[in-house]
């Protein structure tokens, strides 16, 4: 199949998944006991004011019409107004999202790198593979919050190597244009900020990455062991290639498919863990934002966060599928 056709189809499927997610969010918000009109006007509002607000918000319309309005608003980038901050949710998200994206980006990269290292080392039985496996599996078995707290105790409290909270401790960090502090710092030429931001990233990113890394590593090990028994690996050996060339040039690419799928799946779990990790490390991202919105039943904010995370998840998996086709020419044909 043509790569473009495939990409188009895959994205089409992603859209359908998103639509289902939207419908679910809509249904949930209607099943809850929170009345948006009440929420906006506060507890002391008169009945007449509430009724007027209901008409204003379109809550008197039939439910199907309300859903169409909801989807229409979404398409226009209108996610409603947060009960709590009184700001449009889009505006809030724009403020919090870059921090989360930066953290998630580094966490996924780290998970991939650690996963590759674990998978290759255990499949090729490199020296030290067992120690690596022991450390990583122990890390992955511990609950996220415990790992995060232990990390803070050790590296911040005891050793004082790493900061414990926030994105940076330097005042007036650069604020544009990407929202990724590390990239903005480079663009602004402020390398002290870059260094500082990376120091702040290390702990939360590692805590987020370790679980996915072990899953990716295990899947990669499994497929590598299978591939290393293939005839073409024997051919590569018979040519007198070095073990490393056989492993990295011939075996790895053929074994990458399952590990890539796993990365896509794990990216979802990683986003789920993000909410916890942002809370502990006071990371000003949408996980932090969501954690503030949930106790007060701020539905527009919650559904905004959910949709954004869902969008991420779907896009990452679509990307993985496309990457797999790039990795294996036989599927392309």
């Amino acid at each position: 199949m043509n790569p473009l056709t495939f990409a188009a189809r895959r994205l089409g499927a992603a859209l359908i998944i998103l639509l289902i997610l939207i419908a679910t969010m809509f249904t949930l918000s209607h099943l809850s006991n929170t009345d948006p009109a009440h929420a906006y006007l506060g507890a002391g509002a008169s009945k007449a004011a509430v009724a007027a607000e209901r008409v204003k918000l379109g809550l008197n319309l039939p439910i199907t019409t309300q859903f169409l309005h909801y989807v229409g608003n979404l398409l226009h980038g209108n996610l409603g107004v947060s009960y709590r901050t009184r700001n449009p949710v889009t505006q809030d998200l724009a403020e919090y999202l870059p921090a989360t994206m930066e953290l998630a980006f580094y966490a996924i990269i780290l998970a991939l790198l650690l996963g590759l290292a674990l998978g290759i080392a255990t499949a090729a039985r490199w020296r030290g593979a067992r120690i690596l496996k022991f450390v990583m599996v122990s890390g992955a078995s511990a609950p996220l919050f415990l790992l995060a707290l232990l990390g803070i105790l050790l590296f911040y409290g005891h050793l004082g190597w790493l900061p414990a909270t926030g994105r940076t401790s330097i005042p007036n960090p650069p604020t544009g244009p990407t929202g990724f502090l590390t990239i903005d710092a480079i663009l602004a030429g402020r390398f002290n900020v870059l260094l500082n931001a990376l120091q702040h990233l290390i702990m939360p990113a590692t805590v987020l990455a370790i679980g996915p890394a072990v899953s990716i590593g295990r899947v990669l090990r499994g497929s590598l062991v299978t591939v290393l028994r293939e005839d073409y690996v024997r051919t590569a050996r018979s040519k007198g290639l070095r073990d490393r060339a056989v492993l990295l040039r011939h075996a790895l690419r053929n074994a990458l498919g399952p590990a890539l799928s796993m990365t896509g799946l794990q990216a979802g779990l990683l986003l789920a863990g993000d909410v916890v990790v942002e809370q502990i490390f006071a990371w000003p991202g949408i996980g932090y934002y969501a954690a503030q919105s949930i106790p007060v039943g701020d539905f527009p904010a919650i559904s905004g966060v959910t949709l954004v995370l869902g969008l991420f998840y779907v896009l990452i998996n679509a990307l993985v599928d496309i990457l797999q086709r790039v990795a294996d020419p036989r599927v392309r044909a």
Binding site: D231, A236, R237, S238, L241, N254, R330, A333
Partner: protein
């Protein structure tokens, strides 16, 4: 003609230089990378030509390039010791082709991998003495082996479909050993790959099987190795392509002067190439000598048995074919004496207790048998001819214009590939018809369509009698449910019939008896049985309710020669006892000749020739049939390979589909698509048995044979 400029004289000349120091002490290793193609020697090497009429003087053939003494190789597998090789002593001389012949489990591939140093170190124990290229490598480190493989060894393996890296372009794979693009192109040219420059950008799956094996060969000869290990390099190929590859191997050896260890299960293939033949059985060498002596006058009963059970185009077919009863010994518990003792008709008392030491039979011909001198002329008595049942009226199978296509996606469009393009066939009750063709000919598709496993697009399939046809597949292991006992598998088929429950046990036992299996097998699970036994179980399952039609899909092609013969005899017996019509798919004309009454040759979804077996084999009228026949490797026969490979069913040539490969084609063949027409004697009764061919220039019998002989003579010149 293929033009070759052997490069990398560096690697080999050094190795050769090291040779005089070989006697006894280990010479310093010839450690030269294959990537040294910019060595000054390369450019000065004169251009030579591969093929007949080579200009290259044969290289000096002195000293062994590899030798093993008293070699034993033991694998540790699932807590048991598997003794793959036991006390093998062998020299491979420089520039010779030594064929290592044996059945599965004989240890022939193990020896090849030992000489390449490719056994997993942790689970393999190697005892004895191994020397490659003058270097003692019995306990060599992985890195020593790696450098040796890089500089002096090459390898070609059985399955070209799986032996090339699917995600790497041909160009990169060959550059790993060739060092440069130009050298890569030169090697591909030497291996007879047309349009080599363009092929560099291809992925393996874009090439045909034959081309892929040529790529493997090109990689194996990079840097002019002193020894190429070729492990069943033609077994997975179509017979016409096999003939081409054998010819290429011979040409490369003549020009480059490397030694070849040619591992094969087929003495006929070995006969095409080998200077010497070593026959391996149960991990031991039974016989080792010049190819002609081994083939003409085998001194070991096992070799004689192998030759006898080998099917050829002249095997007597009036009765059961000669077989070699029994099965090879279990490598976990090897016998104390001769491994062949319990299958040997000439066994002596001491054979069971003492291992025969190799003794000299003639000069340069050793045999490991206590009965030296007593073997030759030990022929099996003539088998009693088959008794054919009286012909039954009517038809068992009637096919009319059967066509089948599959949808494949190609880019945005989906395309239909026509796997069957209009097949007519009539089979009488009790008659056996063999469907012969190369891969992609549609023979298996036709079988599955008759079995009702596929919907056809066009035409009609009528089965004359009640009862459903039964199928027997190539891989009996995969077609038997692994967790069910044999008895359950057999009784399962009786469940649908109206046989009384009490009689089912007895019916199952009777079926096992009919296929010659002991009753104990009933309790066994398929994995506890050998390949031959599993195929018998598959047959037993097919006949436990005698079917009117038995459909066999290459049931013998995964089996060793001796087992294949017994299965064919069994099919011959059963079809006569049960008056079954049999449609037998095979790629092997020698098998078809023995098992069938009539043979239908298929090419790209059509029957191109059909007729009584003897008619078709002795007087082929279609050039394709003639080409198939000329490709069958047999001792003392020079192969005449057809050009090219079967066209893809995706892209069937217009006019006659065989025209692009045909030596007899005329302009008319480009446009007119011939149909089956009478090619033999006009008066045949019944008409079904007539000899027909779909060719504008149906070969006259005399004409075709003369042409074949002429080609053969030219080849040997």
């Amino acid at each position: 003609m293929i033009r070759v400029r052997p490069a990398g004289g560096a690697g080999r000349s050094l190795c050769t230089a090291a040779l005089p120091a070989t006697n006894g002490r280990a010479a310093t290793g010839p450690v030269v990378g294959k990537v040294t193609d910019d060595h000054p020697n390369t450019r000065r090497t004169p251009t030579v030509t591969v093929g007949s009429g080579s200009l290259a003087a044969p290289r000096q053939r002195t000293g062994p390039v590899a030798s093993v003494k008293d070699l034993s190789v033991t694998f540790r597998r699932n807590g048991r010791n598997l003794q793959a090789l036991r006390g093998v002593t062998l020299d491979i001389s420089s520039g010779e082709v030594l064929a290592l012949v044996g059945e599965s489990g004989s240890g022939k591939s193990v020896l090849g991998l030992t000489l390449l140093g490719l056994h997993p170190q942790k689970t393999t124990t190697i005892a004895g003495h191994v020397e490659v290229c003058g270097q003692d490598v019995t306990a060599a480190k992985p890195d020593t082996w790696r450098r040796l493989r890089r500089s002096s060894l090459g390898a070609v393996f059985q399955d070209p479909m799986t032996s090339l890296n699917p995600t790497m372009r041909i160009g990169r794979q060959i550059a790993e050993v060739a060092g440069s693009r130009a050298e890569g192109v030169r090697l591909l040219n030497a291996a007879g790959i047309p349009d080599a420059e363009r092929r560099l950008a291809s992925f393996p799956h874009e090439l045909s099987g034959g081309l892929r094996q040529r790529v493997m060969l090109a990689m194996a000869i990079a840097g002019s190795p002193r020894l190429v290990i070729a492990d069943e390099p033609t077994t997975a190929l179509d017979v016409t392509v096999q003939a081409q590859i054998l010819r290429l191997l011979r040409g490369l050896r003549d020009d480059l002067g490397m030694a070849i260890l040619f591992i094969t299960h087929d003495l006929g293939v070995a006969s095409q190439l080998a200077d010497r033949i070593a026959v391996l059985y149960g991990g031991r060498i039974m016989e080792l000598g010049p190819a002609s002596e081994i083939l003409d006058a085998p001194a070991h009963p096992y070799t004689a048995g192998l030759l006898r059970s080998r099917l050829t185009l002249s095997t007597a077919r009036q009765g059961p074919v000669g077989t070699l009863p029994g099965e090879p010994p279990d490598p976990t518990t090897p016998p104390a004496g001769c491994p062949f003792a319990d299958r040997c008709a000439l066994v002596l008392d001491r054979c069971n207790s003492e291992i025969p030491t190799p003794s000299t039979w003639t000069k340069s011909h050793d045999v490991a048998c206590w009965r030296t001198g007593g073997v030759v002329g030990q022929e099996q008595g003539h088998a009693t001819p088959w008794v054919d049942p009286a012909p039954a009226p009517g038809l068992a199978i009637l096919l009319h214009d059967v066509a089948k296509s599959f949808k494949v996606r190609r880019g945005l469009r989906s395309q239909r590939i026509w796997s069957l393009r209009g097949v007519d066939l009539e089979i009488a009750p009790g008659e056996v018809v063999a469907l012969v063709g190369e891969s992609g000919s549609g023979k298996s598709t036709l079988l599955r369509a008759i079995a009702g496993l596929l919907e056809i697009d066009r035409g009609s399939i009528e089965l004359g009698m009640t009862g459903s046809p039964q199928m027997v597949f190539q891989d009996a292991g995969a077609s038997l449910t692994p967790w069910l006992s044999v008895a359950t598998l057999l009784k399962e088929r009786l469940a649908g019939s109206n046989a009384p429950a009490a009689g089912r046990e007895e019916r199952a036992r009777a079926a096992l008896r009919a296929v010659g299996l002991p009753q104990e097998v009933a309790a066994a699970k398929p994995r506890e049985l050998s390949g031959g036994q599993r195929q018998r179980v598959a047959l037993a399952r097919a006949i436990v309710v005698p079917p009117p039609v038995l459909l066999c899909d290459e049931p013998t092609s995964a089996l060793d020669v001796s087992l294949a013969a017994t299965i064919l005899n069994l099919v011959g017996q059963l079809r006569r006892d049960l008056s079954m019509a049999v449609l037998f798919v095979t790629h092997d004309l020698a098998v078809a000749r023995v098992v069938a009454d009539r043979v239908a040759i298929m090419y790209l979804g059509r029957i191109v020739e059909i007729g009584p077996v003897d008619e078709v084999v002795d007087r082929p009228r279609h050039p394709y049939t003639a080409a198939l026949l000329a490709s069958v490797p047999e001792p003392g026969r020079t192969l005449d390979a057809a050009r090219g490979e079967p066209a893809s069913p995706l892209d069937i040539p217009t006019g006659c589909a065989f025209e692009p490969r045909c030596d007899h084609a005329s302009d008319a063949c480009l446009t007119s698509d011939p149909v089956l027409e009478l090619a033999g004697p006009p008066t045949v009764d019944p008409v079904r048995l007539a000899h027909k061919a779909a060719c504008l220039h149906r070969l006259g019998s005399d004409l075709a044979r003369a042409a074949g002989r002429e080609a053969g003579r030219e080849e040997s010149r």
